[in-house]
């Protein structure tokens, strides 16, 4: 005699609630899929690769683009997938022309060369300006990396 101990089943049918539950959850999934078909993924944060500034220290827009994808929280979570703005957060396109939101006009005029870097970092110079929920990224990125991020933002039309 060989030992063969199969497991029996009490019934082979499918309960009605199981069919309804499955259909309902698939329906919810289908609705979510239909509502999220269009958009753009953020750049992948490659494990272990913190995008470094070039050796010569010059800002690199490509490095800046990678860093924007690595920020926590990601810039796109507030400013939209293409950084084109998502109410109430402003568009980041047009930084090349100057400050993009009203609360920064005076500040940008005071620090015309590096207002964007100071603002993103949350530097002491920005104290007194309402950040409107904008996080400070000063501890996440070095000054060179901030330069690259701004260089990238300036490429956005």
């Amino acid at each position: 005699m060989t030992v063969h101990t199969p497991i029996e089943t009490r019934s082979s049918g499918l309960p009605r609630w199981a069919i309804l539950l499955t259909l309902f959850v698939f329906l919810v999934g289908g609705v979510y899929l239909a509502a999220n078909l269009v958009g753009e993924n953020p750049p992948l944060a490659i494990p272990g690769e913190s995008a470094e500034a070039p050796v010569d220290g010059s800002p690199d827009p490509a490095v800046g683009e990678a860093l924007v994808g690595q920020a926590t929280p990601q810039c796109s979570s507030c400013h939209g997938a293409d950084l084109g703005g998502s109410d109430p957060f402003p568009s980041l396109h047009g930084v090349e022309e100057g400050a993009v939101s009203e609360n920064l006009q005076d500040f940008a005029a005071e620090y015309p060369d590096n207002w964007a870097q100071l603002w993103i970092a949350g530097a002491p110079e920005t104290e007194g300006i309402d950040r409107l929920g904008m996080p400070a990224f000063g501890d996440q990125f070095s000054p060179q990396q901030l330069d690259s991020i701004v260089a990238y933002l300036k490429t956005l039309p």
Partner: protein, 494 residues
Amino acid sequence: MTLNRNPKKSRPYDEPPKRRRRLIPDGADSTAIGFFVASAVWLAVATVIGALAIGIRLIPFELSFPLGLFDLSFEFGTRRVDAAFINATVYGWLTNAGFAAVAFMTPRLFGRPLAGIKLANLGVAFWNMSLAGGIAGLYVFDLGPNAALSAMLWLFEGGLATAALIVTGSFLATAGASIRSGYVSAWFAGVALLGLAGLLGLNATIGLADLFIELPALTVALASVFVERALMTIWLLGITYAILHYVVPRATGQPLASGGLAILTWLTWLALAPVSALATLQDTSVPFTFTTIGSVATILLLVPAALAFANLVQSMQGRWTLLFGTGTLAFAAISLAFLLATSLLEAIGSLRTVDQALGGTDWVRGVFLWAAYGAFSFAAFAIAEHAMPRVLRRAWGAGPLASGQLWLAFAGTTLAGLALMGGGLAEGSLRAAGTAPDAIDAALLLYRVPAFVGFGMVALAGLAMLVNLFLMYTSGEPVEYAIPGQAAPAAAGH
């Protein structure tokens, strides 16, 4: 006439030679024993590294010193400790336990001994030697752009893939054509094993190809995050379903409530598990629709979890008292509860808005902890508790050690997971409110300290299991159980 001897004067050759048991008995269940013992050792190792991984976030430090060989140096830092923890947990503890479950269940479900048992025993050694070498290498070699489960050197990944192929081959050869009419656990295990072997093969191939043609970092990174997620949803989730569908009817001594539900569980898991890994491919080079489909599949993985929960809870009807002990059913019930909870949490976390707010925070680590040390580990505990007395023919100690293992693991995993998820929520909201990073780190201490304590409790549970196993092996009471494929002295007890 009697000969009175002074025992102090007896020499070694006056005594009959003592019979020594081999570490792994040469019998029908030797493969299962080998994998179970290895899994218990890896559990202790993984939990200690895990406590270190949380501790290094409380008191950050890095180490580096040269090995004096080929310009290699020993590097110790957060990323390497994290990678070692995840590899020791997934490949060490959970996969060894999964292989042990396959080696134990297959002969009993199909009524024949495990095919190619000597080769399978070689697989035990091959898997664990490759893994030990691979994890040691994580502290020496460049991890590249790989996610944790793909970060080992290709040579060790090749070793893992070979061992996985051996176990898969052994399973398929034992099951043969009977698998078509077999029990649902065999279907789960079959797909999970094929998925594991395929994913490990892919890992090793990418590592080897990168050595010769230097693949773009983005390609390697995308492949590795896909493999990492697929290993969780196909292999670990699949083998957990296989184990739970096996141990619950066995432990209750009752039939499975519904065969139809079990098949629907298997079909939905089979269709959704590979697709859900697409959600991790979040890069500008990947079409948005692809990743959304992956997110939707992750949400829908709630369906098989809910179906299995309902089916197995129904199968426990009339045996509720077994839930209040420290037996197989208590472990299985906790596994089921964690399985449903983590499926729900992963469904919520896969929503894009939630992912953007909480991605990269401790939330992700908390959910991983609940999945790995809650759902998957308790299923592994359940099969170990059920199988060990049957393969070693010795009674499992049901004293304070077994209680300690259950309650320390349950309380520790719950506490550590909740603390990390709470910390992730706090981190996300503080960042959104524009709080300075230093203030965020200070606030997170409140969450990371209890997480460290909780994981320390899980480490103690691992130690309790290892000690219980040792005591059972050395001094457990002999128990008669039937051996699969041989004449049965006692047909019951499977």
